[in-house]
Structure formats: structure tokens, C-alpha cells
């Protein structure tokens, strides 16, 4: 308990003086720092039809880390914007900070000029300027908002919840919004330069002569020959990040009170710059009821991996008079965010230790066919779902991962970069280090490192829309897009083309066109791909009119993910990897829906 007591002391001290910036041994202004005020953790609620959101420079402290931050209305995260479906919204964005800003309403169906992407839908809001957002709120669910500038990773993000006009198809007694994020004392530009200079800069879980990874010498030589790293899970790790839940690091003692027997709705939002999280509450199953703000048919699980920019709503029903640990473990297991569900003030449950870091697998190299799993690209036909029978979903779902560290698997005849496998419109230049030899659909994959955790883990294949989708038409056209990259040069792109090469060559859809989009991941990292202004429906084996609607889809390494899209929002829309530094280094494109005159029903 000594650490608890110490933390309690620190928290109390920080909290009482934090708003005045006096919590430091020496205050920020006395150290000559320009940031000024120490940002408050957590955030206030903004509701109503006319909101004001003010961006400011600040400092932030969590644990032993302290550095520059950006706040909206004084807090990290910024305010919870809580709206009602059907209302109109006006937001005045005031930039009192020293950097360019904007707000993107992540997952909201807004007119494109309200979408908040500098260079695409608006000019960045410069220091001293204001910008007015104005749009009707046409949906309900759990979303978030964030800057589409360098300010995002510094704290310019917050939750956005829209209460539905009609009651939800499920009930709950208590609700928590849990916004996950990763905060570094380094400025984003510094992180970018480190990654460009030494791509493994933040990775302290690499293979070494003294590691205890289950890799044979032959496998180690194979990875070295490929010039790739089996430990390349997260580009930026807990070596600089503190993982926050509602602005609270693990040392900040975030407590979530509950009464035993209550049903609690957790709205989990991953507002990280670079971090996927494994979410679990040891001892408590979770029932997933919504993904990306859209209700799904309830599915019970013990753990799920949440990609950057995704949201999941889960219901939990703790019966015992005790504490439960809500654990958000980073995908590379270099750190975690922790909150404590407590039936009594101060109640604490043991926080599980970080699990052993995962390794990339054959499937992550795009060689999932190596052992003939029966998985084939594109559609699900022939996919073996035998393991989904019964209640043991997920735990044994890992197509591909089960063959992970095949003993003595010989890859010498498997080309890592056979560019003849690429479509002609993909540019195989220095920015393409790998071509997935056999990219299979990996919707049934629980995510890196979660194949053999001994309990149920959610996969996309378990998501089924709660109500029929608005557009039941079959797609008339297939659009294939390759996710390409080169970790060594820290280059990321779609179809091998840097953004500057495609600013005049957007991905084009006709208004109301129904298109199937297949994303092929020619890299060894999982990319959360986000399309602005639309929901798309994952082609995940669910019936055509109940495919789950999402705004962000994780495309597993070396695999593919496919969605159906009704292009019903005219305008130019950002389409990008939501890993901040991947977007920033080129994995960014424009989707345009024309003619612009259409869509007045919007």
C-alpha cells in the first residue's frame, strides 16, 4: 500500500495546485517555459446548440513526464461534446495557441466544408483566428473530435457523444466515457525526426543476444535477411508515451465508482496518435453493443483490440462488491493505461502485469497460405470458421497466427517484394519495402498478439449490425487500394504514391455509387484506415444488409480488409491511416464524391 499512499499524496498535491501551474518543483513560468498553464486532466461537458472551443498552449504532467501540450478549453483531453440526435450545432473554434489548428468531427456525417481538414476542406485556423462550424447532427453514438494538425497528438482531442432520438435497444444504469490516448513530452515534430533518423528509436523490445523470444536462430537470420524486425509492432512506444485514460496516467489513480449489480455502459474511444490497445477487465466479461458509434448485435467477449480512432461501446455488469481493473495494454505491451472500477472509494484490484511482447508472424508477412489454412483473399468463401462454434470465439480464431512461429519454416523461396504481384497503378519505388505475396482476408483475426491468450477475443467477424443498413444494393465496382510503406526510410503511402503525387489525382466515386473497396496491406504493420464523411460496411461475413458500419477499419499486416461503400456525401474527403506519423509521412489520400451539386438531402 505504500505506493498507493504515495500516489494519493502526489495526486492530491497535483490536483489542488495543478490549475495554477504550481505543481512543479518550479513553476513553468519560472523555468522560462512558454507553455504556461498546466493542463487539467479530464474534461468538462459541452452541450447545447452553440459551443465555444478555445485552443491554447499548455504544459502537461503525468507520472514523471512533463512537457508541452495543447488544450481545448483548458483540459487534456478537451471537453466531452454531448449532443442530441437531430439538433443543430454551431461551434466557434478560437485559436489562442501558437500553432495551426482545426477540429475534425471524427465519424460525424457533416457537409464536407465542415470536416476540418486543412488543405482539403478548409485552411488551417492560424493563431489568433476563429472558425465557425455549423451543421445538423444526423446520427447518434460514441465518437470523438480532434485537430487535423500537429496539435492532435499534443492533446487537441476529446470525446463526442450523441444521445439518440429513439431509445437504444439496450439499457444501462451508469455510463462512463473512457478516452484512451498516448502522450509524450516530445513535440510531434521531434518524434517525427527521430523516426526518420532511426526508425527503431522507440523500440526497446527488439531481438538481442539475450532476449527470451521463442525464435530459432534460423528464424532470426531469416528476419535479418529480410531487413525487417519481428518486434516492429509499434513505431512509438511506452519508452516515451504515457498511456492515458481521460487524461490520467497509470499513476494518477483514475477511479470509476459503481454499485454492485449495476449495468454499466463504457464508451471506449481510442484517441491515440500511434497506439492500439488491448482492452480487458480481468474477471468481468464485456458485451460489445456498438462499434464506431453504430449499434451491433450484442456479442460477449473477454478482450478486444481497439485500433487508433475506433470506438467501442461495451456493457459490463459487475456483481461483486470489489474493484475491477480496466486495463488498456498497448499492442506492443510496452505500457498500459489503467482505471479502477471501484464499488467503494479506494477499492483496488490487482493490475495485471504487462504480458510478453508479441512477435510478428508469417501471416503478417503476407504469407498466410504457407500452410494452407484455407483462407483465401477477398471474399470469405472457403474460410474455415469451425473454430467459431460454441462460446469460445476469438481465443482460437487466429488464422495465420497459429502458424506464427512455424518451426524451421523455410522462406527462402518466398519473395518478400515481388512487385509483379502489384496492380499496374501501384508505384513500386523506394517507399515500398514489401509486397504481400498472398494477402488473405484477416477480418477473423483478433489482432497482433491476441491469438493465444486463453480467453475470448473479439474479431471483426463477430460484428453484425443491429439494424438493417440503409443501402442494400450490391456493389457495382471494385476498387483495390494497396497500403505501402518502408519502415527503414519511414515512408508510408497508398499505392506507393507520396501524397504530393496524388493531390491532383484523388480516388473518385460517383454520387450514390455503391463500391466495394479492398484494402491490401503490403506492410508488416497494422494500419487503422479512416474515411471521412462516410460509414462503410465491413465485408466480414455478416449478411449483406447487416454488415457492420464503421468509419475506421484495421487492416492487419500482410492481409486485406474489404468494405462496401455508398458514396453519398459529395465533396473532397480525407482518407488516411490514423497512425499519426504514418499519415504525416504520406499515407494520406483524397476521396472525392461528385457531382458536388448532389446530396441536398445531406
Amino acid at each position: 500500500m505504500s505506493s498507493l499512499d504515495r500516489r494519493k499524496f502526489l495526486v492530491a498535491g497535483t490536483a489542488s495546485m495543478g490549475a495554477l501551474g504550481l505543481a512543479h518543483a518550479m513553476p513553468a513560468w519560472a523555468m522560462g517555459r512558454p507553455e504556461g498553464m498546466l493542463a487539467r486532466r479530464g474534461s468538462d461537458v459541452l452541450s447545447g446548440e452553440h459551443l465555444k472551443m478555445t485552443v491554447a498552449d499548455a504544459a502537461f504532467r503525468t507520472g514523471n513526464r512533463h512537457g508541452p501540450a495543447v488544450t481545448v478549453n483548458g483540459t487534456v483531453p478537451g471537453p466531452l461534446v454531448r449532443l442530441k440526435e437531430g439538433q443543430n450545432l454551431v461551434v466557434d473554434l478560437v485559436n489562442n495557441s501558437s500553432g495551426d489548428t482545426s477540429i475534425h468531427w471524427h465519424g460525424l456525417l457533416v457537409p464536407f466544408l465542415m470536416d476540418g481538414v486543412p488543405g482539403v476542406t478548409m485552411a488551417a485556423v492560424k493563431p489568433g483566428e476563429t472558425f465557425r462550424y455549423e451543421f445538423p447532427v444526423r446520427q447518434s453514438g460514441t465518437y470523438w473530435w480532434h485537430a487535423h494538425t500537429l496539435q492532435e497528438p499534443m492533446g487537441h482531442y476529446g470525446p463526442l457523444v450523441i444521445d439518440p432520438a429513439e431509445p437504444e435497444p439496450f439499457t444501462w444504469d451508469r455510463e462512463y466515457v473512457l478516452m484512451l490516448s498516448d502522450w509524450s513530452p516530445m513535440h510531434p515534430m521531434t518524434i517525427m525526426k527521430k523516426l526518420r533518423t532511426q526508425p527503431d528509436y522507440f523500440n526497446y523490445q527488439q531481438t538481442s543476444a539475450t532476449d527470451d523470444y521463442a525464435l530459432s536462430g534460423e528464424q532470426r537470420r531469416m528476419w535479418a535477411r529480410m531487413r525487417m524486425m519481428p518486434t516492429d509492432i509499434s513505431d512509438v512506444t511506452g519508452s516515451t508515451y504515457t498511456y492515458l485514460i481521460n487524461g490520467h496516467g497509470p499513476a494518477d489513480g483514475l477511479e470509476l465508482p459503481f454499485t454492485p449489480g449495476e449495468r454499466i455502459r463504457l464508451r471506449v474511444i481510442n484517441g491515440s496518435a500511434m497506439t492500439f490497445f488491448n482492452i480487458r477487465i480481468p474477471g468481468l466479461p464485456m458485451t460489445v453493443v456498438a462499434a464506431d458509434g453504430q449499434n451491433v448485435q450484442p456479442v460477449e467477449t473477454d478482450e478486444f483490440q481497439i485500433g487508433v480512432a475506433e470506438t467501442y461501446d461495451v456493457l459490463i455488469s459487475p456483481q461483486d462488491d470489489r474493484a475491477f481493473a480496466f486495463v488498456a495494454e498497448s499492442i506492443d505491451r510496452s505500457g498500459m493505461g489503467v482505471a479502477m472500477l471501484a464499488s467503494r472509494p479506494g477499492a483496488r484490484a490487482p493490475v495485471p502485469a504487462l504480458r510478453k511482447p508479441p512477435l510478428l508472424t508469417m501471416a503478417d508477412m503476407g504469407m498466410a497460405m504457407a500452410r494452407g489454412t484455407g483462407a483465401n483473399g477477398g471474399a470469405m468463401t472457403g474460410m474455415d470458421h469451425g473454430s467459431m462454434e460454441g462460446t469460445g470465439h476469438g481465443a482460437s480464431m487466429g488464422h495465420g497466427e497459429s502458424m506464427a512461429h512455424g518451426d524451421g519454416m523455410d522462406m527462402s523461396d518466398m519473395p518478400m517484394r515481388d512487385t509483379s504481384k502489384l496492380p499496374p497503378d501501384v508505384k513500386a519505388g523506394p517507399g515500398v519495402a514489401m509486397v504481400a505475396a498472398n494477402p488473405v482476408d484477416r477480418m477473423g483475426d483478433p489482432g497482433i498478439g491476441l491469438s493465444d491468450v486463453g480467453h475470448r477475443v473479439l474479431t471483426y467477424r463477430q460484428l453484425v449490425a443491429a439494424s438493417p443498413n440503409p443501402d442494400p444494393r450490391a456493389p457495382t465496382r471494385l476498387k483495390e487500394i494497396h497500403l505501402t510503406g518502408n519502415m527503414e526510410r519511414y515512408m508510408w503511402s497508398f499505392d506507393g504514391k507520396n501524397f504530393s503525387a496524388v493531390t491532383d489525382d484523388p480516388i473518385r466515386f460517383a454520387f450514390n455509387e455503391r463500391v466495394r473497396v479492398k484494402l491490401v496491406n503490403d506492410t508488416m504493420m497494422v494500419h487503422p484506415i479512416h474515411l471521412h464523411g462516410h460509414f462503410f460496411e465491413l465485408v466480414n461475413g455478416a449478411p449483406g444488409d447487416h454488415q457492420p458500419r464503421k468509419h475506421t477499419v484495421n487492416v492487419q499486416p500482410g492481409g486485406s480488409a474489404t468494405f462496401d461503400l455508398t458514396a453519398d456525401a459529395p465533396g473532397d474527403w480525407a482518407f488516411h491511416c490514423h497512425l499519426f506519423y504514418h499519415m504525416h509521412q504520406g499515407m494520406f489520400q483524397i476521396v472525392t464524391v461528385r457531382p458536388l451539386e448532389e446530396g441536398d438531402e445531406a
Binding site: T14, S16, D44, V45, L46, E49, K52, N88, D92, D100, F112, L113, P118, T130, R132, P167, F170, T171, W172, D173, E175, V177, R196, T197, Q205, S208, T210, R225, E255, L256, P257, R263, T287, P298, V299, E300, A339, P345, G346, A379, M383, E389, A474, R477, E488, R489, T503, R508, A510, E513, K518, G541, A542, P543, H546, G586, R594, P595, L596, E597
Partner: protein, 358 residues
């Protein structure tokens, strides 16, 4: 345009000139949306008062009975047939009409890849231009493109900066690089040199190269090299630098001097992690010459070999002191030149230095 005018978006352009004094009705900002540090965190709770009651939304008034979905029957989720036809949601208490069969999802392979329809090409190239102004958006686009298309970065690295203890006079060596550029094209400056304390430097050179990525792992480099000591020489340089299979860092250059001499240099090094911070680095360098260059003491063929082994500890990634051993051999005609000059063609150096970058 008629339709667009109906959109609220048109009313929402930059509000630079708007008077926000009139906007003080910006939404009741009642505090405590999310969980706070309470109860132990008094100060912060006060800051976010009125506190606990608003932390949670009280849904007790809502009808729990509407949805008793637990236990849900997962046992019947026979996905093997992909149809979800057997999925039993009867226990979920609300209508989940799934309409199987009627909406089978077509397989991806059955959908043709085709170009976008003609109407997808209508209108201006950039949609925002016609609402916000071409100039405004062109400037904004330029900023974004510059930032996210591999904006130039600068780094300086001293790969070797070391003290060399050996028989006779101890010496020193530097081997540094400075790079500025984007993802594909870079200005690459290199300098290396060595000598013995109390004497003129034995060698010193600077190279200025343009470096261009020709593949995922390799850059081709071309430029000039200026020798700073000894007989004045300027060289044209062409080379390749990059990462070979098995993670060898390789730098190979050919030089043609203003006297017509052709020489070459191949360097390779390999970082072997012992721990996350302790790294053993074997390194080899071969110097070659196409002809004898007596005034430089260089013999045709293989001129000089260096083999080194350095053990460094990364206090930070950017700062790693090391110790090691470096062996040099002059060979062939070069060895004869060395002996004629009263030098030992074989020198063993015990080195201590620091590898750093920023």
C-alpha cells in the same frame, strides 16, 4: 449550386471577423463528463464541481426489460456456413430481423474492377476551391503537402569519434556525416580523418554528395571529395550506400582524382544487439587502387584493410560511448611503401570513443 446553397455549410466559412462577444451563449458547460480522480482527488474534484452526481448518467428510469440479452446463445453461431442462418438471437428480446438470403453479399472476386463513372470527374479539381477561394486553398494545400510528403529533416551523426591507443604515438579518428533532405533526395556530407597527436593529420577529407533513393534499401550517391592534407587532391565520387540483407550497413564509393587516379573504398558494419542498449559492432573497410600512387603511399590493388570491433552502450539512442579494437594492415605495394617510410604496415589500435547523433 441551388442545392448547395441549401446546405448550412455555406454559412460557415471562416468567421475571422465575427464578434464573439455575441456568442457567450455557447452551450452550458456543465462539468464532469468523465470520471475524475475522486474521491481522493479533492482538488481536482473541486475544479470540476459540482461533482459526482453528474459523473454518471442515470439510466435507471429506462426500461431494462427491453433487452435481456444475457445469456446470449453463442453456441448456435455456426459460422461455418457463413450465413448466420442459425444464429439464435431469440433471447435478446428485441427484433433482429436479419433477412438472410435476401441480401447475400457478393464475393469480391465477382465484382469487376472498373474506372469511376464519368460523373465522378465533374466539377473543379479541388472541391473546396469554389467555396473558399482557389488562392486560399492552394496555399493551404501547399503547406499540407510540404508537411506530409516527406518534409526535409536534418541529422548529424558521428559514427566514430575516437581516441586510438597504439604503439608509438597515440592517435585520433573521426568519421562523421550530416544529412539534409526528404525521403528520396538528400544532401549528404561526409568527413573522415585521422592522425597522431603532436603531428599533422595523416589524412582528412570532406565529401559533398547528392544522395538519391533507388530502391527500398539503397541510395546512389554522387559528388565531390576534397582531401584536406597531403598532396592536394579533388575527386569525383560515385557510390552506393544502404542496407544489405542481414542488416549490414554498406557504403561503397569509387573516386577519380584530378590527377586521374582511380581508387575505391568499401565499408560495412553490423549492429549486433547484446541487450537493448549494449551493441557489438564489427566493422570492415577495404581501400582499393587501380594504380600505384607513390606520393600517397598507395599501391595498386588492395591497398589497406581495416577491421574493427566496437562495443557501445546507448545511454540514449543519440549518445553511445564505446570501446574497441581496430586493426589496420597496409598490404601489397602499400606495405612496401610504408616500410620504406619507416612505418609499420600493421597497426593495432585500442579505441575509446563516442557515437552520437542529433
Amino acid at each position: 449550386m441551388r442545392h448547395l446553397l441549401a446546405l448550412p455549410l455555406l454559412f460557415a466559412g471562416p468567421a475571422f471577423a465575427q464578434d464573439h462577444a455575441t456568442h457567450d451563449a455557447h452551450g452550458p458547460s456543465h462539468p464532469m463528463p468523465m470520471a475524475s480522480d475522486q474521491p481522493e482527488d479533492d482538488g481536482e474534484s473541486k475544479a470540476q464541481a459540482p461533482g459526482e452526481d453528474t459523473v454518471t448518467l442515470d439510466h435507471r428510469m429506462m426500461n431494462h426489460g427491453a433487452m435481456e440479452h444475457e445469456p446470449m446463445d453463442h453456441g448456435s453461431m455456426q459460422h461455418g456456413s457463413m450465413g448466420h442462418a442459425d444464429m439464435d438471437h431469440s433471447g435478446m428480446g428485441h427484433d433482429m430481423t436479419m433477412q438472410h438470403g435476401a441480401t447475400a453479399t457478393p464475393s469480391t472476386d465477382s465484382i469487376p474492377k472498373a474506372p469511376p463513372p464519368p460523373e465522378a470527374f465533374s466539377g473543379p479539381l479541388h472541391a473546396a476551391d469554389q467555396f473558399l477561394g482557389e488562392d486560399v486553398m492552394a496555399a493551404s494545400r501547399e503547406e499540407v503537402v510540404r508537411e506530409i510528403s516527406g518534409m526535409p529533416v536534418f541529422w548529424f551523426m558521428a559514427d566514430r569519434a575516437e581516441y586510438r591507443a597504439r604503439q608509438g604515438k597515440d592517435g585520433y579518428l573521426w568519421d562523421v556525416q550530416a544529412v539534409y533532405g526528404g525521403h528520396v533526395d538528400k544532401l549528404w556530407l561526409k568527413s573522415e580523418g585521422e592522425g597522431s597527436f603532436g603531428e599533422k593529420p595523416e589524412s582528412a577529407e570532406v565529401q559533398a554528395l547528392w544522395s538519391h533513393a533507388i530502391g527500398p534499401w539503397w541510395d546512389v550517391q554522387a559528388g565531390v571529395r576534397q582531401d584536406l592534407v597531403g598532396p592536394s587532391r579533388t575527386h569525383a565520387v560515385v557510390g552506393i550506400q544502404g542496407l544489405a540483407p542481414y542488416l549490414f550497413e554498406v557504403d561503397a564509393s569509387a573516386f577519380v582524382s584530378n590527377k586521374g587516379d582511380v581508387t575505391g573504398r568499401i565499408e560495412a558494419e553490423l549492429d549486433q544487439r547484446i541487450t537493448q542498449r549494449l551493441i557489438l559492432q564489427p566493422r570492415a573497410e577495404l581501400n582499393l587502387a587501380a594504380q600505384d600512387i607513390p606520393e600517397l603511399g598507395v599501391g595498386a590493388g588492395l591497398d589497406r584493410i581495416e577491421a574493427g570491433l566496437r562495443l557501445r552502450y546507448q545511454i540514449r539512442r543519440e549518445f553511445a560511448p564505446y570501446v574497441g579494437i581496430a586493426q589496420e594492415w597496409r598490404v601489397g605495394q602499400s606495405a612496401d611503401y610504408a616500410q620504406a617510410a619507416g612505418e609499420d604496415p600493421s597497426v593495432t589500435n585500442f579505441v575509446a570513443g563516442v557515437r552520437f547523433w542529433f
